[in-house]
């Protein structure tokens, strides 16, 4: 009764202000998308929309851009309150957070297993959106990693590009010592306020903060242990340039102060932004941790598209994603060329843009290499609480510099993470 009265007065006020207050109504055939970054995700989705609507003129695409944290906040609020009509039809979710949404809100997102041929995508991208054998998303951009290195500095120190292929981190440190001795340059920038580097190393050996069942795995995580040990060795060898925060870290290589960069493929644009360094860079496979299960491929970041189950445009939305993101190879050439985006569809590598030899990298076919590594990224379970554990790991990184015992550090991370997850 009370609520009825309230909604009546709401309605009265709303009516009084209809000319003044714009209310948008969704009509059939319009697919609404929420995502972040106007120059990347929004622009890419616009291109995808243009390709789809060219064949399906009855469909229109409405892309709304919010900040990444804002998309998450809105999604969380709408799902928690059960106000599903406040949700878009398609939403972009960062890969590290995918399992959190899929498992916390079962039934909120549409399974696309029946429509999409997932065998065409990088396996690790499919794994992160799978719950109980159902696959819920459309894999989008990848953060497949590589080791970017300055050929000129390494050459000065007496190393050829072949010396950088398929090395271990121990070998990397040895090379780093020689590079510093011969050129005075540090081997890499190390940001101890961010656990990104730790995550890259850990996933390269096929492990994560959680095991296959989703249980916290820190103390007995051999890959995490090796990742922390490697960083401690780097610190001890003093072949790093310390950085505080992301922009500072980016500054270590844009300024030419360090000889290598280890990051996701999306960093390519930033590396290439220094036109005066053209021809001086090469890209090698990620060094390996040298433990059991270690590989030369890993990932940092990336996100994927999800369709809301309750959406009236669900079928259309899935069809749109499937037509463009799962089949359109020329589309992937376009977004690589114009936006520097590397998708997760393996067939994309057969296109012209992926075949290109890049003069910035001395004519190397870098995209073919990244594409190779993409297929080899070890699938892991990102679990529900990656961000929480990440906080615990980040908090303990500085203690590595003080020579802390790794087993003790792992124990502390485990207990802090348990506290945060409770």
């Amino acid at each position: 009764m009370h609520f009825q009265r309230m909604s009546k007065s709401f309605a009265a006020v709303a009516l009084a202000g209809t000319s003044f207050f714009a209310a948008t109504a969704a009509f059939a055939g319009e697919i609404t998308v929420w995502c972040w970054d106007p120059n990347f995700n929004v622009a890419i989705m616009k291109e995808a929309g243009a390709r789809y609507t060219a064949k399906h003129p009855e469909t229109t695409l409405n892309i709304v851009d919010f900040a990444k944290a804002d998309v998450e906040q809105k999604l969380q609020t709408a799902l928690t309150s059960g106000t599903t009509d406040a949700l878009p039809d398609i939403v972009l979710i960062e890969d590290y957070g995918a399992q959190k949404y899929l498992q916390s809100f079962p039934g909120a997102f549409a399974s696309m297993s029946d429509t999409v041929d997932y065998s065409g995508f990088a396996p690790y991208k499919v794994k992160l959106m799978t719950v109980d054998d159902q696959v819920y998303g459309m894999p989008f951009d990848s953060g497949v990693t590589g080791l970017y290195y300055r050929k000129d500095y390494l050459e000065q120190a007496g190393f050829k590009p072949s010396d950088m292929q398929d090395i271990t981190w121990d070998r990397f440190i040895e090379i780093g010592k020689v590079v510093e001795e011969k050129t005075g340059k540090k081997m890499l920038g190390l940001d101890m306020t961010d656990a990104g580097f730790t995550r890259i190393l850990m996933q390269s050996a096929g492990q994560w903060y959680f095991d296959a069942e989703g249980n916290l795995s820190i103390e007995n995580n051999t890959a995490l242990k090796a990742a922390l040990e490697t960083q401690q060795k780097i610190l001890k060898a003093n072949i790093h340039k310390p950085a505080a925060g992301w922009t500072d870290w980016v500054g270590t290589f844009t300024s030419g102060d360090v000889a290598t960069v280890t990051s996701g493929v999306w960093i390519t644009g930033t590396v290439k932004a220094q036109a005066d360094q053209s021809g001086k860079w090469g890209v090698a496979p990620l060094p390996s941790l040298g433990i059991e299960g270690a590989t030369h491929a890993s990932n940092l970041g990336g996100s994927s598209w999800y369709v809301v189950e309750s959406s009236p445009e669900k079928k259309e939305a899935i069809d749109f994603l499937n037509e463009v993101y799962a089949k359109d190879v020329p589309f992937y050439q376009d977004i690589l060329t114009t936006r520097g985006a590397v998708g997760s569809l393996m067939a994309a590598r057969t296109g012209d843009a992926y075949m290109l030899a890049d003069p910035f990298f001395g004519g190397e076919k870098v995209w073919q290499n990244f594409s190779d590594w993409l297929s080899k990224v070890p699938p892991v379970n990102y679990g529900i609480f990656t961000n929480e554990v990440d906080t615990a790991v980040t908090a303990h990184l500085p203690s590595l510099a003080q020579g802390a015992d790794i087993a003790t550090v792992l124990k502390e991370i485990q207990s802090q993470a348990e506290g945060q997850i409770q």
Partner: protein
């Protein structure tokens, strides 16, 4: 006669200390603005490098901002929400403040404590129930959904009640003798007398509404209803934000609150001191 200069020098030292402390405080509070203005003239790369001198990228940044953002629409949205919310909030909350002070009843102080108690409930706790209410009322993605929850502001009710304590009750009594009804007293006597209080409240509420972020973010769903705070947030969260453009956005977002403050500065100070004219 020597006593006076002695006491003067005695005071000069603490005065110097006061000025030094005030200068430091002023610098700390003004520095972000200086940084913002300087950065708006630099390219994104220079800003990241920490360049603290004026550059030549200002017009380029402005052009990029206007190319990426539908500026008139976004400002119209922000201004509409902020001005309407401010007027409604002041109208409703000043009435409540007036009522709480003028009318005596047994329940008055209990009711008033209840109102003040709501100050302790964080907005995050209200957000989801509010969102469900707005959803059921069909007001999601409307500007009216932003202003409704802010109209009855416990803080402004409190502020008006405190200010009303200085309102001479003789005025009200005299007006009553002259035959004015309560609403006439409020409108023709109280409001003009308390105008500096209203001015101060206007500045505070306008700033709160103009800068309001979380609730508009939750309620607004489309590009054509977004306010400036949401637009700036979106620009800043790109993988590679163009900080020059972000700075232009923050400057433009800051200007209206600055303007309102400077225009009403005298009344604001008078209102905060609780003067009645």
């Amino acid at each position: 006669m020597t006593a006076i200069p002695a006491s003067r020098t005695g005071r000069a030292v603490p005065r110097v200390a006061t000025y030094v402390a005030l200068s430091v405080a002023a610098f700390v509070s003004v520095f972000p603005f200086i940084w913002m203005v300087i950065s708006s003239t630099n390219t994104s790369i220079d800003i990241i490098k920490g360049k603290a001198t004026f550059g030549s990228a200002f017009s380029n940044n402005v052009a990029n901002f206007f190319a990426q953002v539908d500026v008139p629409l976004v400002f119209w949205n922000s201004a509409k929400v902020a001005i309407l919310a401010t007027l409604l909030t002041i109208a409703v909350s000043s009435l409540a403040g007036y009522g709480f002070e003028m009318f005596r009843s047994k329940m008055r102080d209990r009711l008033y404590s209840l109102v003040l108690l709501t100050l302790m409930v964080p907005f995050a706790a209200l957000m989801i129930p509010l969102f469900m209410m707005m959803g059921k009322a069909g007001l999601i993605n409307t500007h009216i959904a932003i202003l409704l929850p802010t109209v009855a502001s416990a803080f402004i009710i409190f502020y008006f009640r405190q200010a009303t304590k200085a309102f001479p009750t003789e005025l009200r009594d005299a007006a009553k003798v002259d035959g004015l009804k309560e609403w006439q007293i409020f409108l023709y006597i109280y409001v003009p007398v308390m105008r500096s209080t209203y001015a101060a409240a206007f500045v505070i509420v306008f700033m709160m509404n103009w800068n309001n972020y979380l609730w508009p973010l939750i309620v607004l769903q489309s590009n054509d209803t977004k306010t400036i705070t949401l637009v700036v947030s979106s620009l800043a969260s790109a993988y590679y934000p163009d900080f020059g453009v972000v700075m232009i956005g923050t400057i433009l977002a800051t200007l209206p609150t600055l303007l309102v403050f400077f225009v009403m500065q005298r009344q604001f100070v008078a209102g905060m001191l609780g003067s009645v004219k």
